[in-house]
Symmetry: C2
Subunit: 394 residues, 2 copies
């Protein structure tokens, strides 16, 4: 008596999550050191020591009824004010507390935004390859995902196909930069071109087309790349942010939405985000963690390991013959599989105790995603397996 839709979802499963579970079982069987799990974006870098210190300071300094109690559904006013100020300093924006809605991670943020704007049948553009969960977040509200085929040379935006995909039913586009699964960062030129195209379509169709920027990887950037901040380029924009990756707190489910004053019907929109956060069952973002991130905003875990892992893997894998676009940020790379069937290739990798995710999960078959948010040892010890795979299937 579970719904047919849920039966389908259960049968389809999340390939990534299934691998995570399988990785746990394999680790128990073969020993954790003999399984090379590149399947999930679960940071291996510990949170900065300041997370622990902040928790203890809050418990010592702040009234416990406030720390663990209800607050407005949008979050603590002082936390939101402090995050707004911090974004303003970095980005030159003019946000205030009202523009910030604290959420249960970026996944919560995206669902709250979808609930606010999506009517049944509304179309949401997704540039492939993309994080497969977006399909569920859109489907939760009976929206329709419209997939733009990949632009294979840089994994940026495929403008030709985008123009074909936009329709009067387009309500939104989700952008994810730095990108999961490719590690691409959309350039300022591409962002400008995208925003101009969407603005002209807004005028043509006479209604808002929202850009929803999913930015959990904003601070994970190699070699000083700039990640353009969407609110500076576009009016009808939401930013979803998460501390999961930058503070290595993915289990804590803490993030926020930025809803800038340039949004159409800003008062109604902020009120609706608050209602959506409440009625979807989030109620509010976890309270202690709200207070923690306010104290730590701007800090990150030590991310040098991701940079090093990227360097080692990129050099080794390309030397073995793997073809890929070099990642500029996030902690993913997205090489071609040697077999046309990416699922078969990932199954072959499992024989080497290497867990990687088929590109088809990201609407881009013929590739695989490798999440390198792992220890240096995992990277080093996995290289012979990657080499054997190349030799066997190249």
């Amino acid at each position: 008596m579970i719904t047919p839709k849920m039966q389908q979802l259960v049968a389809g499963g999340s390939v990534i999550r299934a691998m995570f579970e399988e990785g746990r079982l394999m680790a128990a069987k073969y020993g954790a050191e003999n399984v090379y799990d590149f399947s999930l974006g679960n940071p291996n870098t510990p949170p900065p020591a300041s997370v622990r210190e902040a928790i203890i300071d809050i418990l010592n300094e702040e009234p416990e009824l406030m720390v663990h109690g209800y607050m407005s559904n949008v979050g603590y006013e002082d936390v939101r004010a402090s995050l707004a100020q911090s974004i303003n300093q970095k980005q030159g924006t003019d946000l205030t507390a009202r523009n910030i809605v604290m959420t249960v991670g970026a996944a919560g943020a995206l669902n709250v935004v979808m609930k606010t704007i999506l009517e049944p049948g509304d179309e949401v553009l997704l540039q492939a390859p993309f994080f497969g969960e977006y399909l569920n977040y859109i489907s939760n509200f009976d929206g329709k995902a419209v997939i733009i085929p990949p632009e294979f040379t840089t994994f940026s935006i495929n403008f030709e196909k985008l123009e074909e995909a936009i329709s009067p039913k387009t309500k939104a586009m989700i952008l994810n930069t730095p990108n999961n699964p490719t590690g691409a960062i959309y350039s300022e030129a591409d962002i400008t071109r995208l925003c101009e195209m969407l603005k002209s379509k807004e005028q043509e169709y006479g209604h808002a087309i929202y850009l929803i920027s999913d930015e959990p990887y904003r601070e994970i950037v190699f070699g000083g790349e700039e990640v353009p901040y969407l609110p500076k380029y576009y009016d009808n924009v939401f930013v979803g942010y998460s501390y999961s990756k930058t503070l290595s707190l993915p289990g804590e489910r803490i993030g926020y939405i930025v809803a800038p004053n340039t949004l159409e019907d800003i008062d109604g929109t902020i009120a609706a985000l608050s209602v959506a956060n409440r009625i979807l069952g989030f109620v509010n973002a976890p309270s202690l963690m709200q207070r923690v991130v306010a104290r730590l905003d701007g800090q990150t875990a030590d991310m040098s390991v991701y940079h090093e892992n990227k360097e080692v893997l990129y050099e080794a894998l390309t030397s073995y013959g793997y073809e890929m676009v070099e990642p500029k940020g996030a902690f993913y790379m997205f090489p071609k599989t040697f077999l046309p069937d990416d699922k078969a290739f990932c199954a072959a990798a499992k024989e080497e105790h290497i867990l990687i995710v088929p590109g088809s999960t990201f609407a881009c078959p013929g590739y695989f995603r490798l999440a390198f948010c792992v220890s240096r040892e995992t990277v080093k010890n996995a290289l012979p397996g990657f080499k054997r795979l190349a030799e066997q299937y190249k």
Copy 2:
């Protein structure tokens, strides 16, 4: 461009949440000690000291990558095993870790269950008066709420009207005991009668009718009342639990679903609950708090203040002429208003700086809800205002 449904919800607002916001403004204006806010179920009793200790112990003893990291979408295996065991000890059930899904509070639990079982048009029975958010949780999944009129003598189940309300489209009934807003506890006789009726309807219609027991107030009981545990009386049952009230952690959003082995298609159901938790954007219940409640299960905040508040308020208000059913649990009472228009009466109470919620919010006009999870001083200082209201409007 926010959806018409959200526009309506924003315009309608949550009366309770609006009062909470207004209470904050009034406290700033008149001084917190001069505002008597009985509007929200926000515990005034601090969490037990063991919460603070557990957090610090966990930070000192457990690996931080595990404490703050991803785990299975259903929650940590050891946490779920420990909670299952604790429930078994109390209730004589035979739950294991697989029967527990950790959730973002009871609100998250209910939404995850609804997502799992509700198809558009499915009917969900609600015994009035009930927590108004249930309407949104049902509507989130295009279900239809079917309201059973109150049984006014004890605020238990109105069996006559229930029988009229059940239809072949009935998919579920939400039960809430101890009850918000009345403080009623459904007796074992009533539970038995209810379960027999639903079982016979399951057979008549040839499909499951789920009982969803929302139990955030299970441990708040006056005078040793027993709260029957639904899985002992019914097969197709889900229990939603929250630590918000019993550990005074409402901001932390931590709770769980019990899905017993008696459920139809138990394997599929548990898998679906896990998927629903993930795709609705919860992903998993906040990780540190999962570990905290596992260490503290069975402990509660000091709830004697609720009992005392109930005694003082019940005695004083009935002596002023207020009519009500004496609450047996939770921290609410639900007296009749002296004006037929309950909203007008609550507006009059605001003139006395008393914030109470109209019964119409709970599908029961002509009454008001008073949340007495407040300090003894608030209770004491509010009494003259309640007296003046009675004298003026009786």
